[in-house]
């Protein structure tokens, strides 16, 4: 899976949680909080990602990424290690 594909998956799940972002063009520097995702929305996106990828990532590790680009990288690393 490429980083672009991973970002697309993040964008898809973010739109599921925040349907208002249907027309938003996601970029790696986007921060979920800035897009209007509250703390519950953010853990929902993270859980949908884990479900799609068949991965389980700890809450602590998910605190690290500062934007969706870094989040995509974290998931790519986890996918490689799996």
């Amino acid at each position: 899976m490429t980083k672009t594909e991973m970002l697309d998956l993040i964008a898809r799940h973010t739109r599921e949680i925040l349907p208002g972002l249907d027309a938003h063009q996601f970029v790696a520097s986007d921060r979920l909080a800035d897009l209007g995702a509250n703390s519950v929305d953010r853990v929902e996106v993270a859980m949908l990602m884990q479900e799609s990828l068949g991965l389980s990532v700890s809450r602590v590790e998910l605190f690290g990424p500062k934007n969706i680009g870094e989040l995509a990288e974290l998931f790519l690393e986890k996918l490689d290690a799996a």
Binding site: G20, V43, E44, M47
Partner: protein, 404 residues
């Protein structure tokens, strides 16, 4: 003198219509919408007859994001509160003096079942929002956020009397000066196939004898009744003092003159003639009414064989033999937690219309001498009405309403 309590706003949704205008028209036309229930999570091996809400219109400006994480019960609460809120002009009331009491407990069973069954094999991916939504009090959080309510909000459970109990609690919150305005919500009870199965096994829910013609299944007070038929509904009733309503220039629907609230001391679903009679007598005494003053009774009338019979005996025991009677559940089904509130709304809409709705499938009333509204609506100016609810666990409530 305690303040006079009035109803200044109402909102309703049921299988036969959303909004008071559509609901009142459907009631007076005697329309019903019973069929085999199709909502996901409500059938498994057996099919159950009921009345389901086909579509819900949301107020403009509600973000799709808001609705995404809202259960069916929360969505119904939102639309009925919006209707009642606008009618009672609650935006002009101090939010700290506005309250909400949600009638119903364990109301989201179908949603929970869907989550449990969906994640049975992959619990590690369970959606975190389940932690918020599994509690009924999520409706309090959801609705107070949507409407900016800052006074009080909590849930009350009284089984099928929950809706009336919410009205009683709202009245008490206003009388205790906790708030100026309190909205009583009869929450939509969202049954899963598990509850349907157990209620049928218990003999409370009607059997499948009318599977071939679901329109005949719901028959409160008819000799061929054999249990209640479920119907989704939700209603909101705004309670405040007359003085508070006058400050906003609102013309109230009715005055809540008094109520009775009696426990049977009995966990079983069996009704109690003594409890029902006592609740009615307490309500009459609190209102200072004689039985002859009541010209319309909106009974609990579920279609349960013992329940229907006991209720009519209680009416007779209380001298309520001349009042008109119909059965709102014959048209919309039994909303369980919602029923008490929705039937009060049906009562006050009939009061305002000066008409009484028909009772469907009342071919052979178990007590034919009573003053039934049968297959057609009739003109009748209601002055004083009595509404009744009873619930599992031996709860009986009776409310007295006078035309404002």
């Amino acid at each position: 003198m305690p303040p006079k309590l009035v109803v200044t706003g109402m909102g309703v949704i049921s299988a036969i219509g959303q909004g008071k205008a559509a609901f009142a028209t459907a009631l007076l036309d005697g329309r019903a919408a019973f069929n085999v229930m199709r909502r996901p999570g409500r059938q498994r091996e057996s099919a159950y007859i009921g009345a389901e809400i086909r579509e819900m219109a949301f107020p403009p400006g509600i973000a799709r994001q808001t609705l995404r994480a809202a259960s069916l019960s929360a969505q119904a609460a939102l639309v009925v509160l919006q209707e009642a809120w606008v009618e009672a002009r609650l935006s002009d009331v101090d939010p700290r003096r506005t309250g909400l009491i949600v009638g119903g407990s364990n109301i989201q069973q179908r949603e929970l079942t869907q989550v449990h069954e969906g994640y049975r094999d992959c619990p590690v991916f369970l959606r975190p929002t389940y932690a918020l939504s599994f509690m009924d009090s999520d409706l309090c959080g959801f609705c107070t956020e949507q409407f900016g309510i800052r006074g009080l909000a909590y849930t009350v459970g009284g089984a099928s009397a929950s809706g009336q109990l919410a009205i009683v609690q709202s009245a008490q919150a206003v009388l205790a000066n906790q708030v100026d305005v309190c909205i009583a919500l009869g929450a939509l009870m969202d049954l899963s196939h598990w509850e349907c199965r157990s209620l049928r096994a218990l003999g409370a829910m009607g059997s499948d004898r009318y599977a071939d013609d679901p329109t005949l299944a719901c028959r409160p007070f008819d000799c061929d009744h054999d249990g209640f038929i479920f119907g989704e509904s939700c209603g909101a009733v705004v309670i405040e003092s007359l003085e508070s309503s006058l400050r906003r220039g609102i013309e109230p629907y009715a005055v809540l003159c008094g109520w009775g609230f009696v426990m049977d001391g009995n966990r079983n679903p069996a009704p109690s003639l003594e409890g029902e009679t006592q609740a009615i007598r307490s309500a009459l005494a609190a209102s200072g009414w004689s039985p002859a003053q009541i010209d319309y009774v909106n009974p609990h009338g579920t279609g349960s064989t013992v329940g229907d019979e006991t209720e009519l005996k209680a009416l007779r025991a209380c001298g309520l033999t001349d009042a008109y009677l119909n059965a709102t559940k014959s048209l919309i089904g039994h909303g369980l937690s919602a029923a008490g509130a929705v039937e009060v709304i049906a009562t006050l809409l009939q009061m305002r219309a000066g008409q009484l709705h028909p009772t469907r499938n009342l071919e052979n009333p178990i007590d034919p001498a009573l003053n039934w509204v049968r297959n057609k609506s009739i003109d009748h100016p209601i002055e004083n009405a009595l509404t009744l609810s009873m619930g599992f666990g031996g709860i009986n409530t009776a409310l007295c309403w006078r035309r404002a």
